[in-house]
């Protein structure tokens, strides 16, 4: 008898999602689907808008990462209007963006992905949340997490106008200059962020890397996929989140593409499935070959792990040391045929990669603030709208983000296309959910801990939900076992 397991809704995910798992006669998993049941259609309703307002409209795509859309939109409009951004404004944009990365990655590690490690994948559901984390590591650390979010959101508000849905972007500029007073305050903030990032890496060491069971889990085949990797790099092939070229390395560590983001249509296409409102991007070079991984597949991931895989180095010293230690741990440093690092395919290592990025973002904040020009009051310029094409791209915390606009002579949008961070990872998340379900559910037997390990397969991609800084209370999950006709066969509630 075919049975199915429905997890609906998947929670602690930015937006709505569900997982459908089909079992065969033996009770083994025959297929699993990661479905996105929502669509708002920004590509459609942004046509007709003032181009310069896209920074303020598209940040409403995601209230968790409005900064990413704000910056990508600003860059797309700079390009469409043909105005280079003023130097101080460009630094302010990146500074805000780095503060955002710090708060976003912090939230994921401590509140979303982290509890599975810090408290444990098989811990009772009521413990697998931020409260459980605090019980395990202490109240002091909980307050450190809240304070980290707070100080970086304050920076975003002072310099970007608003704590959520900032409003500072202008074509070729920014609306608020950085005062000396702000610079002093933010340097202090950056230093606290660096300390916090180092502390977080040490926490990861103590709790995960020094625990053989977690190491085994991380190295196990269950969460391993060989897909290509994508990320933005600077001229020295170090990751940069605000600007650079897009680099793609294949499953063996060979560079297969290095392109300006404006050429994305030559490299990326999107596949449509009738069972999800979210499209599935793939590399055109390999084509869409279905939900399979491997060297011949067009599926790639664009995540913190992918960004380390495509990089040759990190641009800041402390992050560089962690980068080397990371690849050493996997025996991958300098081990590719071309002398590069072998890509790390153990997807659970994405959590670790995220913390290395957190450290980089904090160090980068300090660098930007120490630049003599960042307090230059010339942050805003008078420009003219024009008919043009503008493609703006940044690395969002959860993947490469591309905004593509076309404008008429009045600076009104005639065409809009968006490939959003998480969208890049739609196919790999589907692969990971399928593999984890197949590996964990056998003979129709599953437990709460097993289902949580299925959820860990998508959680590692960072399901864009940074708001769980408190998550107080119980966290039950109900799973219904249904017959194909939809009738309820069995029900399990955990929590």
């Amino acid at each position: 008898m075919t049975r199915r397991i429905t997890i609906d809704p998947i929670t602690r995910l930015e937006g709505h999602g569900k997982i459908e798992i089909f079992l065969d006669d033996a009770g083994d998993v025959s297929s699993a689907y990661f479905q996105i049941p929502e669509l708002r259609g920004f590509e459609s309703f942004c046509v007709g808008r003032h181009a310069e307002e896209m920074a303020n409209i598209t940040n409403r795509i995601c209230g968790v990462c409005p900064e990413a859309h704000h910056m990508a939109a600003a860059k797309a409009v700079d390009a469409a209007f043909g105005v280079p951004c003023l130097p101080a404004a460009r630094r302010i944009r990146e500074l805000i963006y780095m503060a955002f990365f710090v708060t976003d990655h912090t939230t994921h590690f401590y509140c979303l992905g982290g509890p599975d490690f810090i408290v444990g994948p098989d811990a009772p559901a009521s413990e697998r949340n931020i409260l459980g984390v605090i019980r395990k590591v202490g109240v002091d650390i909980g307050l450190q997490v809240i304070n980290c979010r707070k100080r970086n959101h304050e920076l975003i508000k002072r310099l970007g106008g608003r704590g959520v849905h900032l409003c500072g972007a202008l074509p070729g500029g920014w609306s608020v200059a950085l005062s000396e007073e702000m610079r002093r305050d933010f340097l202090h903030c950056a230093k606290e962020n660096i300390d916090f990032a180092r502390f977080s890496l040490k926490t990861f060491d103590d709790i995960v890397l020094k625990d053989q069971a977690y190491l085994d889990l991380m190295f196990s085949d269950l969460y391993r996929h060989e897909t290509h990797s994508m990320g933005t790099v600077d001229a020295g092939m170090a990751p940069n989140f605000y600007e650079g070229r897009i680099r793609v390395v294949d499953t063996l560590g060979n560079e297969v593409a290095l392109y300006d983001p404006k050429d994305y249509l030559s490299h990326i296409a999107e596949h449509v499935e009738p069972w999800s409102y979210l499209k599935f991007p793939y590399l055109k070079k390999f084509g869409w070959n279905g939900f399979v991984d491997g060297q011949e597949s067009g599926i790639y991931h664009a995540t913190p792990l992918a960004r380390l895989n495509v990089a040759d180095r990190m641009a800041t010293p402390l992050a560089q040391a962690e980068f080397e230690r990371f690849f050493d741990t996997f025996g991958a440093r300098g081990k590719a045929a071309n002398g590069r690092n072998l890509p790390v395919h153990q997807r659970l290592a994405t959590h670790w990669a995220r913390l290395i990025e957190l450290l980089y973002a904090a160090e980068r904040m300090q660098e930007l603030l120490e630049h003599p020009e960042i307090c230059d009051p010339a942050v805003r310029q008078v420009v003219e709208a024009q008919a043009g094409i503008g493609i703006g791209s940044v690395e969002a915390p959860r993947g490469t983000l591309t905004h593509h606009y076309e404008t008429d002579v009045r600076g009104v949008l005639t065409k809009v296309n968006l490939i959003v961070g998480t969208t890049n990872n739609n196919a790999p998340i589907s692969l990971s959910v399928m593999k984890a379900a197949k590996g964990l559910i056998k003979g129709g037997v599953f437990s709460d801990g097993i289902l949580n390990q299925v959820e860990m397969a998508f959680r590692l991609y960072d399901p864009c939900c940074s708001c769980a800084t408190h998550a107080l209370g119980k966290a039950p999950l109900e799973v219904n076992l249904r017959a194909v006709d939809g009738s309820l066969l069995d029900q399990q509630v955990r929590g």
Binding site: T2, R4, T11, R12, E14, G15, E20, F22, S31, P37, E38, L39, R40, S44, G48, H50, E52, E53, N56, I57, R60, C62, G63, V64, P66, L143, I146, G161, R162, G163, V164, H165, C167, L170, P171, A269, V272, E273, P274, W275, Y277, K279, W288, R380, V383, A385, H404, G411, V412, C465, C467, A468, T469, A471, L472, G473, A475, P476, E478, G495
Partner: protein
Amino acid sequence: MSASKPKLAMYWAASCGGCEIALANINEVLLEVDHHFDFMFCPCLLDTKTKDIEALPDGDIFLTLFNGALRTEENREMAELLRRKSKVFVAFGACAATGGIPALANQHGLQHMLDTVFLNAPSVENAARLIPQPICHVTDGELALPAFMPRVLAVHEAVSVNYTMPGCPPEPEQIIAVIRHVASGAPLPPLGTWLGCSSRAVCSECPREKRGVLAARLLRPYEGIPETGWCLVEQGFACLGPATRGGCHALCPTANMPCTGCYGALDATADPGASALTALAAAVDPGKLAGKNEEDLHRRLKDALSGVADPLGTFYRYSLAATVLAERKPEVEQ
């Protein structure tokens, strides 16, 4: 968590998660929320399921903060369910209040959206011209997706709403004030009140000075560099502060950017776009009109308004659900 504490729920429909982040940004006050309420449903934060809500007696949840507009049938069903289960049901944030950004989709209609996203996007390879379907047959069975409603609705268009809390998103200090008021047990304001906002315009909170000057024409934000401390409207920028409810402490004008109207029209019963348009029209002086010929008049008015090439996105940015303009008749579309 104690059963004796009043239950608090937060749900998102067609939204961005910014309302949840605004709640998270009350920072350590979250501990107070936990002290006073049994915060028991919030898909963004907690793993409680729809079925758990269905199992509650009607009216069991004391306070529901419902954010997001209604785009899918699932959104509407969740609004109906939570309305039934809640004593106090609040339309939380601009999307729930008046449609917000997602309601801009009402301009083009549903089919335009599906065609744009799945067929015509330059990155899409879709030779089979597949558009995702509410029911899809796969090898092992059937997969379901919620159907779209023909147009995006504000929440009050589907269920009765006790209060509205505007903002995109509502500001954290306003959330704190409302939650503390409810937690204190003090009497609630009259039904229908807009909470967490001011009855006066954004201008009343704005640090920029009004000098009693009329602007010659309206400007896009990149067409000028505003003088520090001087009202943006008087300098010609299309700032909606005069027509918009306060409560945000004039965040955008303080950052030298025009108000975009996210806290909603000053008068909730008036057409939001028409109010904003009227306010700005009154701030512009196209010069003496008496004695001008028709051609001259037309040119002057055109110049004066050239700063608004997108009246819909400027004046109805957050309100295209709860307005007569949102009614898109199929016969008109034909």
